[in-house]
Symmetry: C2
Subunit: 338 residues, 2 copies
């Protein structure tokens, strides 16, 4: 019987995850039942939010059980179909497993059209991260022409889209990122008006203040912690803060503390709002259409950082916390049609 | 020439203000010019926000200068009028001075109708604090029937109105306050469903959780600090936090720190918003009408805590930070018509 490999949660991490928290196991390849398809993974996504699922705590995504395979967004190829909607060879995307093959209900998959561009984009700029950046910026941060917008982790999969959407809305955009290569990409290729390398800055608040002489009207926050502390005092009257992620805190073992932030909201009448892309399911198509159009018009650029080989998936995940990726972090698992 | 007395800012407090920060001076009674009136103060208001004006820092209200008289909401009687709109004997309210007499532009005053109720209410339930509670609750916290709403400093001038407005909106209302007398007032007279004496509670979060078995849908925050920390983990999906004040932090000499709060907003998609009643100037009449009607229908109760004598105004102010007042804290300065 044919086999496949899966990554399972070996143990829950304390603080920063390590390879020891992951177990690579070989299992029988599952068989699709009626209405199901067997999908061969081409690309697997690794995302910061997965850190939360490794914890034994109820949050917006269910915690993973130790010993079980972990979920991941994947782009794959249908290799066996017992469903009317899909044929062998179709490219699909969905939330399946950290696995080389997985069975999925046809209802849980979306078709991917390989003629529109690289299929991997269905996990990045044209997938969950891109759509997160799109709605988080337009719906929550809500920039107007001439306003100043700050995006943290601006060179990541979500931040790079969020920042460009702000630029396309006519705002002045300032990004933070952790390497000179990222800073150059933001300002030279993505059209950010300024970018700050937080790793090379002694006084973050002064650096943000210098890059935002008119204060901050909207802040798209992917990281939390000291970068957010630096942006906070600069919030203008009626500012909006879209809280998308807090990656700087995900590996903390104790309740993270920092300067209290609510007094500033009174003075500035600012609104701070958390959001989840899952709440925008019904408007997914609208975002995809806009983002595709922007890409075709060369108004929206993206990058992918691809780690080759399924066996390296944990390293790709761990690299997210080191800030190694520019753009979307992917694991290439297999070629189409092989 | 007739004289009058004023309280002036003698020095800026470090941490908790003391009587040494205030100076009582006797000056010539000012003369109204054309379009102005001379007002004799009947009641003077003391409010937590005044602490911010004692600092040498730009905030939503201008800092006071050392040596200058301080501003305060007052209800007073016109004793000399050089304006068409007001006659001698009229009762008015406005933002004048910590003073027994002050001159004001007629434009800066609102008439108070003594037949509608005690004139002091123009500084409390039918003035700035009441209107703050009204709009903060309806416009920012936005409760729905059946929801759970928490109000901190619920026995204060703002919180007591905010909580009753939530009850009138059909929500279940839980208040926090610092004495058994306040707790009894909240539950027995104001119709709160539960009230927590935070000074008698070892585990605030457990106490709030017990009082809010279905979590917290809206939180009207007057205090910040540990009480807010206790409410935060209980915020439900789509919860709203109206940030009105942070009195527990106003006397801090260093940047206050506490648990970081933004991660919770992602999971709960909660919205946290600061507001200032000054932004509702154009809707002031609408609030007054509703609040008056609620009082007449016995649906809205209030209390005033009156300190007698202008010379005691600083003590009335300092008592705000000790949580001494139930309801609106006032200073009675003079009788009408004397």
């Amino acid at each position: 019987m044919a086999e496949t490999r899966q990554w399972r949660l070996a143990s829950r991490p304390t603080g920063e995850p390590t390879r020891e928290n992951f177990d690579l196991v070989t299992v029988d390849r599952p068989e699709p039942g009626p209405g199901e398809v067997l999908v061969k993974t081409l690309y697997q996504s690794v995302d910061p939010y997965m850190r939360g699922r490794m914890r034994d705590e109820e949050s917006y995504a269910e915690p993973w059980d130790v010993g079980d395979p972990m979920q991941a967004g994947i782009v794959g190829e249908v290799v066996q179909s017992e469903a009317d909607d899909f044929d062998e060879g179709d490219v699909v995307t969905g939330n399946l497993l950290w696995a080389e093959h997985a069975v999925a209900d046809a209802d849980e998959l979306r078709p991917v059209n390989p003629e529109l561009g690289p299929v991997s984009t269905a996990l990045g700029v044209l997938g969950m991260p891109g759509i997160t950046g799109y709605f988080g910026m337009l719906d929550v941060a809500d920039p107007s022409p001439g306003e100043t917008v700050v995006v943290s982790a601006a060179a990541g999969a979500v931040g790079s889209v969020a920042g460009q959407i702000a630029r396309l809305s006519g705002a002045r955009v300032v990004g933070t990122a952790g390497s000179e290569e990222k800073i150059d990409w933001l300002t030279d290729e993505l059209g950010f008006d300024a970018a700050i390398n937080y790793k090379e800055t002694d006084d973050l608040e002064a650096a943000v203040a210098e890059a935002c002489p008119d204060g901050v009207d909207a802040y798209f926050d992917n990281v939390g912690g000291p970068i957010t502390d630096a942006v906070w005092p600069l919030l203008n009257v009626d500012a909006r803060v879209a809280v998308c992620g807090q990656i700087s805190l995900y590996n903390e073992t104790e309740v993270p503390t920092g300067p209290r932030k609510l007094s500033k909201l009174i003075e500035s009448r600012a609104r701070v709002e958390g959001f989840l892309v899952g709440d925008y399911q019904s408007r997914w198509g609208e975002a995809l259409e806009s983002l595709s159009e922007f890409i075709q018009q060369d108004d929206l650029h993206y990058r992918e950082n691809v780690v080759d080989g399924f066996e390296n998936a944990p390293d790709a995940f761990l690299g997210l916390f080191e800030g190694e990726n520019i753009g979307k972090q992917l694991v290439k698992v297999a070629e189409r049609g092989e």
